[in-house]
């Protein structure tokens, strides 16, 4: 990027004289900033769930079944008389923990694998990419249903499965980003200094693909929320009585004539969360987009 542009009279416009960080921040759209605040709110609610929620999420008959929203139960109660608001609040913990871990796992494995393959190239790279291509040619939902449905559904297994299924996508993107870095002079210089390949990958390549990796993590988080929500809805996610949004929607939909609140509340929370993640991803893509890819130092 060039320095502050010169205006017609040959004087640099003062408002353009900012450090790199501020310039990057300025490119961050307002919608993404709002989304960031919403995400922060979700995380805060998840962290302080025990303080915020009025009742225990699993205690039955804190009210009578299917109570409409009232000052006592802001979002009403479900078929077992559990407080819907408390379950939704604790549900944010379940989904954020699961989706965050799954995205983190795929970013970690896919990042390391992508950097190694992109740096080394050659036959190993060729074979690995073919294998990943084959894995990606199988619909993830079927893969996940087989693993989770047969090994027994549980939150850790679902997290692990969803994370692993995203590894090929992350690997592909990080590998491509690495390949464009490998040709740069500083990598050649590091090689000439006799640094080990692990050190080159971690010290020279990683800082330059970090932006790509952050964008991938963000994309994968949104994907994982949808995926885990879907599995939860099918009954192959977290198991009852865990407050899981997908599961809550599934449990409540058969009794939707009695009360819509046990279904609508988690559904809206989930839709809003994914919307926020997607908007936020759009924003950080603008910062780490192709032109600025990786330059976060």
């Amino acid at each position: 990027m060039t320095d502050a542009p010169i205006s017609a009279r040959g004087v640099a416009r003062p408002e353009q004289r900012h450090s790199g960080a501020v310039r990057l921040f300025r490119r961050f759209p307002i919608s993404a900033m709002v989304a960031g605040i919403v995400l922060l709110a979700y995380v805060t609610i998840a962290v302080f769930a025990p303080i915020i929620s009025p009742y225990s999420p699993t205690d039955i008959f804190v009210g009578s079944p299917f109570e409409p929203p009232s000052s006592l139960y802001l979002l009403g109660t479900d078929n077992l008389g559990r407080d819907v608001l408390s379950r939704v609040i604790y549900g944010s913990r379940t989904i954020l923990l699961m989706a965050g871990s799954a995205a983190g796992l795929s970013a970690l494995i896919g990042g390391l694998l992508g950097m190694q393959l992109g740096y080394r190239g050659g036959l190993v790279d060729e074979i690995a990419m073919r294998i990943l291509e084959i894995i990606m040619s199988i619909p993830s939902i079927i893969f996940a249903l087989l693993i989770v449905g047969i090994l027994g559904a549980s939150a850790p297994l679902v997290t692990f499965t969803v994370g692993l299924l995203s590894v090929p996508n992350v690997t592909r993107v990080v590998r491509a980003a690495t390949q464009s870095v490998v040709a740069e002079e500083f990598v050649t210089a590091a090689r000439a200094r006799g640094e080990t390949s692990l050190s080159i990958v971690l010290r020279e390549i990683l800082p330059n693909v970090a932006g790509t990796l952050i964008v991938e993590f963000s994309i994968r988080t949104g994907y994982a929320i949808l995926f885990i929500g879907g599995l939860g809805f099918l009954g192959f996610g977290a198991q009852p009585p865990t407050p899981d949004w997908g599961l809550m929607v599934n449990e409540g939909r058969g009794m939707i004539d009695a009360s819509i609140w046990p279904v609508v509340s988690p559904a809206v929370c989930m839709a809003a969360l994914v919307t926020a993640v997607n908007l936020f991803t759009d924003g950080i893509m603008r910062i780490f987009g192709p032109a600025e890819r990786g330059r976060i130092s």
Binding site: I134, P139, S140, I141, I142, L145, L146, I150, V249
Partner: protein, 321 residues
Amino acid sequence: MRVDPILRLIVTRLSLAFVSLFAVSLIIFSSIAILPGDTAERILGRDATKQSLEALRAELHLSDPAPLRYGRWLAGVVHGDFGRSLVADRPVLPYIGAYLGRTLVLGGLALLVHIPLSIGLGLLAAAKRDGPFDIGMSIAVLIGMSVPEFVTGIFLVLWLANDLHLFPPLALIDQAQSMGSALLMLALPVMTLNFAMTAYVVRQIRSSMIDILRSDYVRMAALRGLPPSRILLAHALPNALGPAINAIALNASWLVGGIVVVEVVFNYPGLGRLLVESIRFRDVPMVQGAALVLSATYISVNLVADLLTLLINPKLRTRTA
């Protein structure tokens, strides 16, 4: 000898599809075979007696080594023998055939609505760029991309079925009395699928159309005094179709996976719901068959989509693979 690059590409893609299919069969089989405890115990659960366990083990040949069982299963599948359902105690194949047919009906109908709808909306958004319609579409696109299908489906049921009584809430199409009532049942699932798919194509068409509308030949056409609608449809649209077809093709392969959840939401008797139900009942041959056929459908759709994109894009077509 020079081989036609397109032919070579088609052969490469075809062989890759076959390798994928083989890998899928291996994964499907081993995910069930590697598990702790044997299938007989898992099927019978707590009601297992010694005799029933023994009988079931003998029936499933569970004492044979896994590679042998895999070979036998695969050979059966190739000959159209998917084994017998443990729950229904009937051959799996006719079931899968009927359920696959219904899944294809739903998916095909969804695509039939999807293609003109998304191209039309994308065109309108690009033509009325930055107007209220475009902004409204951008918001709808964002929501469409963010809301999970089961949430969309349930909201549509609440609104159009429970409130307005326009459509039945469930799509029990095998009990439909007439063609008309079957179409009514299909309306909500088709809408749900389209809600998720449309966003992506609209975005794609809008951005490529906006680029094209800025190009010299479009400006030239405008200078020549051609009406805007003619410029849009006759000059710009054909050039935006390539990326659109690519996006639609991607959606078609997404559809094979996304349809699983939608079938469960509407109790639609398709292959996705069959898979989910068979997993619940631990009906191993049915799970294997349904998973394999669904994966094969996915791989075929991907193959067709790949080839279609390739044949339509002259840049990719001339580049030797």
